[in-house]
Symmetry: C2
Subunit: 440 residues, 2 copies
């Protein structure tokens, strides 16, 4: 492998010289990106006025068999990101380190950066964007949220004139696949997860997906772009889908709802935002309700644009490559127009509101003793806490038991939680099976 040191000094990309790209990481997205740049070379040249070439690929394991010439690969990533041979670094390693260190190093060495790394941007976005901006460099991360769906840049550009009132996203394909399987086949969580793992949609350790961590990173990025503030992750309320059972999905269906894992950002009062990730009921008629399987979608309401939805494939080699190459095209255009570094750093100081302050509608599923007076006791307990009931389904089960499902009117989360506590202590209650928020 030829050394990367002692290169000629960097010149600007021009008609004579292509934009030189280095990939860090050559997994599915890396090889998808390589293939897309190769396959659509002409298209890209026509749309940017510049040729683009992937000149080097940084990898960890040199011994793996690969179909490309070995001269294309290097294991010295630290040297690669500062090399005079390259103009743009595409970071596809994922995770916090070494990605964060390498991206910072690349920016300090005056390389533009494109990344698909949601954890990196959720945790270090503010600092890295400021660093890029101050150096007149581009730092793009369209692929970090919603895979191939254009949402990061449209929020920064075409929708930038709007005050975003509320944003809700189905941002994780694995959990959406699991919930869809549960709903269509009456499967329980464990079975649907096992099937998703078998199909390669879920990892052996599914924590990152099913506990909402992946969705949290993406929601944090959406919040940052929209409100100009990097939200500390500990200020994001997060619940995953492990507690959702088929009984909940079925009860929701009876009432005209579906259950989705949502990342939600909204301005709860002037200058205060709430960011949260949890499963929620949404009406079957809501646009997000028909986004199934591994598809992702971002729905938002802006003060001028009204409601808007983007949907598509949120993950996978090719859709993610589409977003990465879209970013590369923008980097190339900006190089040509000498307009790099137009990012807007997150400069807003906006407090976040804790989940206890949420005002929402709620779903509750109880198992009760099927005796006279049960419903009266429960309804009275809710009434005492100012929680109004909007809908109810009741079913007798074998063994003298009954199941009751409630939907409440809008109330304060604090009141609702306290009401559940009181209801749970009633003698007629066998178990409080689950409760969920209702959106839309």
């Amino acid at each position: 492998m030829p050394s990367l040191s002692n290169q000629e000094p960097s010149s600007s990309p021009s008609a004579d010289r292509p934009v030189r790209v280095a990939l860090l990481g050559f997994g599915t997205v890396g090889s998808g990106t390589y293939r897309m740049v190769k396959d659509n070379q002409e298209e890209i040249a026509r749309k940017t006025g510049l040729a683009m070439e992937i000149v080097k690929i940084g990898i960890k394991d040199e011994t793996k068999k690969r179909s490309l010439p070995s001269s294309l690969f290097t294991t010295d990533l630290d040297e690669l990101v500062v090399s005079d041979e390259i103009d743009v670094v595409v970071e596809l390693i994922g995770g916090e380190e070494p990605a964060a260190g390498l991206v910072e190093k690349a920016l300090l060495a005056k390389k533009h950066v494109v990344t698909a790394n949601k954890e990196l941007i959720a945790k270090h976005g503010s600092r890295l964007i400021t660093l890029a901006k101050d150096s007149g460099l581009d730092l793009h991360f369209e692929a970090a949220v919603g895979g191939g769906i254009p949402v990061v840049q449209p929020l920064k550009h075409q929708l930038a004139g709007n005050d975003v009132i509320k944003m809700m996203g189905i941002l994780n394909g694995t959990t959406n696949y699991i919930l869809t399987q549960m709903a269509t086949h009456g499967a329980d969580f464990a079975d649907a997860l096992a099937e998703a793992q078998q199909k390669g949609y879920a990892e052996a350790d599914p924590t990152n997906d099913v506990d909402g961590i992946d969705t949290m990173y993406k929601t944090a990025i959406l919040a940052a772009i929209t409100f100009g503030k990097q939200v500390p992750l500990e200020q994001i309320h997060r619940e995953g889908i492990r507690k959702v059972s088929y009984a909940d999905i079925h009860a929701a269906q009876m009432l005209g709802y579906v259950i989705k894992l949502l990342g939600i950002v909204e301005e709860t009062k002037e200058g205060v935002i709430m960011v949260r990730v949890h499963p929620a009921l949404i009406p079957q008629t809501h646009q997000l309700a028909s986004v199934n399987d591994v598809y992702n979608a971002i729905w938002l309401k802006g003060d001028f644009v009204g409601d808007l939805m983007f949907s598509g494939r949120g993950a996978g080699a090719d859709p993610t490559a589409s977003a990465v190459v879209g970013d590369l095209i923008d980097v190339a255009r900006n190089i040509k127009m000498q307009g790099s570094g137009s990012a807007i750093p997150y400069g807003q100081d906006m407090p976040t509101s804790p989940i206890e302050e949420l005002e929402s509608r709620y779903y509750l599923r109880l198992t009760v003793e099927d005796t006279a007076g049960t419903l009266g006791q429960i309804a009275t307990a809710f009434g005492r806490r100012e929680v109004g009931l909007a809908a109810m389904e009741m079913r007798t089960k074998v063994g003298g038991l009954g199941e009751i499902v409630f939907l409440t009117h809008v109330c304060r989360e604090l009141d609702f939680v306290q009401a559940i506590g009181e209801v749970g202590r009633l003698g007629c209650i066998v178990s409080v099976n689950n409760w969920l928020r209702v959106e839309g």
Copy 2:
């Protein structure tokens, strides 16, 4: 009104001096734009680093009562677009002239241009984009397609690395409202149109909407952006929705389909595109099928991104203003970064394919004499023309008549049309009521 001549020479917008915008036209979109720039001034300054001010509004009728100071208005549009007092012209007059002349004049006077005018861009886009590019100016037209839905810029940027395989859009709110009303209330076209007119969704002369002209302009723009070629309008096959009856919508529903007016762009073979506008059946499970009322949506399939959909409000003062202001923000950013004029002119020479060469599935509704042998004669006639039948619904009507609905397999349009001709001449056929293409 103060004269616009004899202004000081233009300086660049800076921290001290806002980007000065002139509006041409002050109808609903114009006043929406004015209000949005005012309401979201801080937001815009934060996101662009530049203040923005609407300094002048060009109008036709000086005598109309308006709530803004009269010094803001001028009726001399020709002078306004070349004035040293302004940096950007926002053209909201609509139609071909005087809009085209004014936009050209503005570009020649080194003004950036934002327009919501689909007819202008569909007819003169190629020339005007080249003119803007050559002068280092921005010419943006996000609002011309899909109202507030970001689609023009995402196609140019985030999706630019893709080969677009097919694109289908519900691009006209009026016709989508009419078709939705017909489907939900069993209304006929004339009644649904009358209701849309009453509600202000359709104009007194509805031709532009219901005959697909508006959709044609928007489809032409989508084709131009995607394939880099301005398609002559006479090469676009166009049919409106006047011929769609409730009987068709009902028959489609029985077979699991809905009827939508679609603008469709696809590469039918290597280097050849077909652009067409017509009502079509799409499966109830297709994402476009649930886009109802005045909502618009653009669905596309790219070689890497897979299938993707954008939906939202396609018209109205506020959503359109959202797109106009998004464009203004980009213009302002480019001014600040000195990166204006990055548009890619349409330089591709791509032949278009006529509708006769389409290969599609078809829907056909016939009234027949309810006698033995009828079905056999029809099916035989189709078989002779190599048109395979995929689904059929048959119903006896009063008076010895029957109605038959067919869906075909994929066949050549030419063969299908000839087969219908032959079928129509059969003695057992009372009338060929309608036929439509089937998509998705």
